[in-house]
């Protein structure tokens, strides 16, 4: 089977996209739907907009598993991006250690650079990305976006966080007084 299967997906605002199966497989949600037999028709994505979908696909393309190839290079790049993942390296073939290390290092470097560029986005795009990554269950993307969002929270006071994320303060006046009194944080 030479040509990869193409999957058709429709975002919440009615646009359709055609994407290689191996690429969309990076999304656990879509993968499950295909395995449940929805792969032949149009797959609906009611929680994803056409604005953010290309951005998500860009991530998937970078992290695709190569099903058809029997190449030596490790597959499942997204596993390496999981900072909290305990799984040891996938069984590598017998390649001299020095070569392997240099190759590995270069790849990790390149990936880091790619990520920095990829994550150079504004706040609204970040929020959309978080939503999409969560709904589509793309663990590596969610981790990366969550880290970026966490970096936006660090060092901020509660009021500043509320402004950033447009959150309503729903503490009662008594609770809020307590909060104000304890909120003696000074971040320089």
């Amino acid at each position: 089977m030479a040509s990869p299967k193409v999957i058709v997906l429709r975002t919440c605002d009615g646009e359709t996209f055609e994407v290689d199966e191996s690429v969309v497989y990076v999304s656990e949600t879509i993968k499950n739907m295909i395995e449940d037999g929805c792969g032949d028709g149009v797959i609906p994505l009611p929680n994803v907009s056409s604005k953010i979908f290309p951005k998500v696909i860009e991530y998937c393309k970078k992290h695709v598993s190569d099903f058809e190839s029997l190449k030596k290079t490790s597959n499942g790049d997204e596993k390496e991006k999981d900072k909290d993942d305990d799984s040891s390296k996938k069984g590598k073939e017998a390649v001299p250690d020095v070569e392997e290390d240099a190759e590995e290092k270069a790849r990790v470097e390149e990936l880091k650079e790619w990520e920095t560029t990829y994550m150079d986005i504004d706040q609204q795009v970040l929020f959309d990305l978080l939503q999409a990554a969560n709904y589509l269950n793309i663990k590596g993307l969610l981790l990366m976006a969550a880290e970026k969002a966490a970096s936006m929270i660090r060092g901020k006071t509660p009021e500043q966080i509320r402004e950033t994320f447009n959150i309503k303060n729903d503490f009662t006046p008594e609770e809020y007084e307590e909060v104000r009194r304890e909120n003696a944080w000074a971040f320089e």
């Binding site: 919440c12 605002d13 656990e28 949600t29 499950n32 739907m33 929805c38 609906p44 009611p46 929680n47 907009s49 609204q124 929020f127 959309d128 978080l130 939503q131 969560n134 709904y135 269950n137 969610l142 981790l143 969550a146 880290e147 969002a149 966490a150 929270i153 660090r154 060092g155 901020k156 006071t157 509660p158 966080i161 509320r162 994320f165 447009n166 959150i167 309503k168 303060n169 729903d170 503490f171 909060v179 304890e182 909120n183 003696a184 944080w185 000074a186 971040f187 320089e188």
Partner: protein, 407 residues
């Protein structure tokens, strides 16, 4: 509104159809909650979480959940800075290895830490650390006061032990505090041991220390490692070791620890401590004043066999050597998976090792607090796992205010 739709379902094709612009607006306002909020909070350290917990009720709940699922358990390294002569506390700071920041701690209840300058010279009233189970203590005229919670906010007062001592070994074993050895001209038995039970609030005399330790029975010469049930004492130079069982209140045999070093240099000074359940030995390699290396060994608590688990990178050893003078020897403090190594006279530069599933991850950090550099100071060190409860208590009472120190 926040409570209504908490979770975005994942893995299911169920629709939560939002149409057009209004849908987009809803999406924007409600964008950070449920799984997404959880994913973000999981990236944050304890300190970050304090502000986050005060954003809204939902965020407060999400912070609790996040901390319950993954408690931020990396121990902080805490330094209390005291004035050399009058024993007043100048300042305190802590290093959080998770976020790699230094924090200044403003202490409200200073009297626990400071000593009345009028106290008599023989009463050894200054604040000290036991280097085991993050115990701080003071022995003043007739009173033995101590604290062992993470930020030392709760202080216990007890009568002083019966036998008077200078520079004794003091260690916490669970809810008991042991005082052993120490020198004093008037004491018949320099190896006397007493144990205080915080439950019954009573002292009990225990079996004296082993005879072999007679000439070195002070905290200057002996390093202490204590768990809830066991105490180990190691002679820092000779590596003579013995153990004490808190249940039977008896001492085990005294033995010499054998460390094999690959290089033709030897370990000249050792410190022990508990890193979690493991008895770990920090061995300084080389000669006094001429540090060449630092190794970590795990000591088997049954056989006393020593197994090497790590070695400090040579570039770091160089920094450590430069941070210490000819006179001072590096000291170590450990808790959980962390071993902190520092110069006890000058904690400007600290070094640490995280034991991660058998692998050692080394790091170092520079303390930005400038007043630390003064020569008028004496330092007391501990290392403990600080939790949200500790921080919140500190803020509620006003006794512990933490500020991030800028570079």
């Amino acid at each position: 509104m926040a409570n209504a739709a908490k979770r975005i379902p994942h893995n299911k094709g169920r629709a939560q159809a939002r149409e057009g612009d209004e849908g987009k607006k809803l999406l924007q306002e409600a964008s950070i909650y449920g799984d997404v909020l959880e994913a973000i909070l999981n990236r944050m350290t304890l300190l970050d979480m304090v502000a986050a917990s005060r954003v809204s009720k939902e965020w407060r709940g999400a912070v609790s959940t996040s901390l319950r699922i993954s408690p931020r358990a990396k121990p902080w390294f805490i330094v209390y800075v005291l004035h050399h002569r009058n024993h007043s506390i100048t300042s305190a700071c802590a290093f959080d290895p998770a976020s790699r920041v230094w924090l200044r701690i403003d202490i409200g209840d200073l009297h626990h830490f400071t000593t009345n300058a009028a106290a008599s010279a023989s009463s050894s009233p200054a604040l000290r650390s036991s280097h085991s189970q993050h115990l701080l203590y003071k022995i003043s005229a007739g009173i033995f006061s101590f604290s062992f919670d993470a930020l030392h906010q709760t202080w216990h007062q007890a009568e002083a032990p019966q036998v008077w001592r200078q520079d004794p070994i003091v260690a916490r074993l669970g809810s008991r505090v042991l005082v052993a050895g120490g020198t004093c001209d008037f004491v018949d038995d320099p190896l006397a041991v007493e144990m205080y039970d915080t439950g019954s609030q009573r002292w009990e005399t225990c079996e004296p220390m082993p005879e072999l330790l007679k000439d070195s029975a002070t905290s200057t010469w002996l390093s202490t490692a204590a768990s809830d049930n066991r105490l180990y004492l190691l002679e820092k130079r000779s590596r003579l070791i013995c153990s004490f069982d808190a249940e039977t209140k008896t001492w085990g045999p005294t033995l010499n620890l054998i460390l094999s070093t690959s290089a033709p240099v030897a370990v000249f000074h050792s410190i022990i401590g508990f890193a979690g359940d493991r008895l770990v030995l920090v061995g300084l390699i080389g000669e006094p004043g001429e540090l060449q290396g630092l190794g970590l060994w795990e000591v088997d608590q049954v056989t006393y066999e020593c197994r090497k688990i790590g070695e400090m990178p040579s570039a770091m050893v160089e920094s450590l050597r430069n941070a210490n003078s000819q006179i001072s020897t590096p000291s170590a403090s450990m808790e959980g998976n962390f071993i902190y190594i520092y110069n006890p006279s000058n904690p400007e530069q600290i070094f640490f090792c995280e034991l991660n599933e058998g692998k050692c991850q080394w790091g170092q950090a520079m303390n930005p607090m400038t007043n630390i550099r003064s020569r008028m100071h004496r330092f007391v060190f501990t290392c403990s796992r600080v939790g949200m409860g500790d921080l919140q208590k500190g803020m509620a009472t006003g006794n512990r205010r933490l500020t991030v120190e800028s570079e």
